[in-house]
């Protein structure tokens, strides 16, 4: 370890943790609503939600800067009413992570909910279950594998977010220097040891996340296969 400052790792985990929590709730809620409703403009709305997936991070960052800047539509309002400044703050890093990782959670959740046999939910309804109970006892458990995969991917994406974060939150050591940003500025400053250390950490985090996801998916597939064999 080149120095004993773990702030970038802690900040990254904090940003990714908060962002994943928000993205999971919003992704599940919006996917659930949109997967069952058809209305005019739905296709456009869905495209808009997935847009950060195909846009360069700098474009997303630019959009966020315009929106959340001191004179932005939301930024101005936040500053005026809540005295909250998004630009050059950890909140900015969280917002950037939310925006870029949301499409992954949303896509996984839509696929997970669409894959549920609607007759199972209808069976629950005919047995007296409220919509709330149908969701928690049937839809959510059956969609869980897909939702978890979205959650893990969103976390990994938030952990690795760089472009939009740099544009909105900037690089303020100890305040907004998440791992990817810290790596970039370490390289810029010629501190290759420091950069290499953070690269190893972030690769280890990414690898363990995806390995765990693979293991979890296979375990679920095997569990159902074993149940069938036993039957």
């Amino acid at each position: 370890m080149p120095d004993a400052n773990w702030t970038p790792l802690l900040l990254s985990l904090k940003v990714a943790g908060i962002s994943t929590f928000v993205v999971f709730l919003a992704g599940v809620l919006i996917a659930r609503l949109l997967s069952r409703k058809n209305f005019f403009g739905k296709s456009f709305l869905e495209s808009l939600l997935l847009l950060p997936l195909v846009l360069p991070p700098t474009v997303v960052g630019f959009g966020l800067l315009i929106t959340f800047g001191k004179n932005g539509i939301i930024g101005k309002w936040l500053l005026q009413w809540f005295d909250v400044q998004v630009v050059f703050s950890l909140t900015g890093a969280v917002i950037a992570s939310i925006v870029v990782s949301f499409p992954l959670m949303y896509q996984s959740a839509v696929a997970a909910f669409s894959g549920i046999d609607s007759r199972l939910e209808n069976a629950a309804r005919t047995m007296g279950a409220s919509e709330w109970r149908v969701f928690w006892t049937v839809s959510f458990p059956l969609a869980w594998t897909g939702l978890l995969s979205g959650l893990v991917l969103s976390f990994a994406r938030a952990l690795g977010e760089f472009g939009a974060t740099l544009m909105l939150a900037g690089y303020i050591p100890g305040k907004t220097d998440t791992l990817p940003v810290a790596i970039y500025f370490a390289v810029e400053a010629g501190q290759m040891d420091k950069a290499s250390f953070w690269v190893v950490i972030i690769v280890a985090l990414g690898l363990s996340t995806t390995m765990w996801l693979n293991w979890w998916s296979k375990r679920n597939i095997n569990r159902y296969a074993n149940q069938k064999e036993a039957g």
Partner: protein, 218 residues
């Protein structure tokens, strides 16, 4: 007393169905895609007609003017085609899902009558087609419904199991004394189970066969 008089525009033809029942077994017989399952869905409240009315025991579920009664408030048991058992719950949890408070003894009795006590700890993937059918029946009846809808209940079973299950359905109907509406495209099965058979083609009742006098009309 049950009555249904509904109209609904389907993709290729209008559905116009009308019949009444007291506690008989009504069979809706017809080819696939003739609108039989849609009729069951309308009765259960999972789909709504364009106009008409559906009434059970004096309660109007649908009249085209007021808000239809929600499926969960209709107290109608529904045995779906392929049974729709919850794959993530054991047989016991499936059966107890819609159980009313204080119905434990009733459910235990149901489990004993259907001979599925040894399956309670298993998952739906681990049991045979005939066993699934019994579990689905137990689950539908555990809610103590006022009426039972069965959508092709025996279509996935081999001939021997099918005959056993037909006897079981008739026995349960005698015990429960509630109206059944069964959808099938097997004429032999329709004749064995039905007190009244309605032949449906492209959304219309084209013929009917009443095996015994309808109590409702007497």
């Amino acid at each position: 007393m049950f009555s249904i008089h509904i109209n609904k525009q389907l993709a290729h033809f209008p559905l116009e169905i009308s019949f009444e029942a007291d506690r008989e077994i009504i069979v809706l017989f017809g080819p696939s895609g003739s609108g039989k399952t849609t009729v069951l869905n309308c009765i259960a409240g999972l789909s709504h007609p364009d106009s008409g009315n559906i009434t059970l025991n004096g309660v109007c579920f649908f009249d085209g003017k007021t808000k239809p009664v929600a499926p969960r408030r209709r107290n109608i048991g529904y045995l779906f085609q392929d049974y729709a058992l919850f794959p993530h719950m054991t047989v016991e949890k499936n059966i107890r899902y819609g159980m009313k408070a204080g119905s434990l003894a009733h459910v235990d009795q149901l489990v004993a009558v259907l001979g599925i006590g040894h399956l309670l700890g298993k998952y739906p993937q681990q049991i045979s087609g005939g066993e699934k059918q019994r579990v689905a029946l137990a689950r539908a009846l555990a809610t103590e419904p006022q009426m039972l809808l069965l959508d092709e209940p025996l279509s996935a079973l081999d001939r021997k199991t099918r005959l056993q299950c037909q006897e079981e359905l008739l026995r349960l109907h005698r015990d429960w004394n509630i109206p059944y509406v069964i959808v099938t495209h097997d004429l032999e099965e329709a004749k064995k189970l039905g007190d009244a058979i309605y032949f449906i083609e492209r959304g219309q009742i084209v013929d009917k066969l009443i095996k015994k006098p309808m109590i409702a009309k007497s």
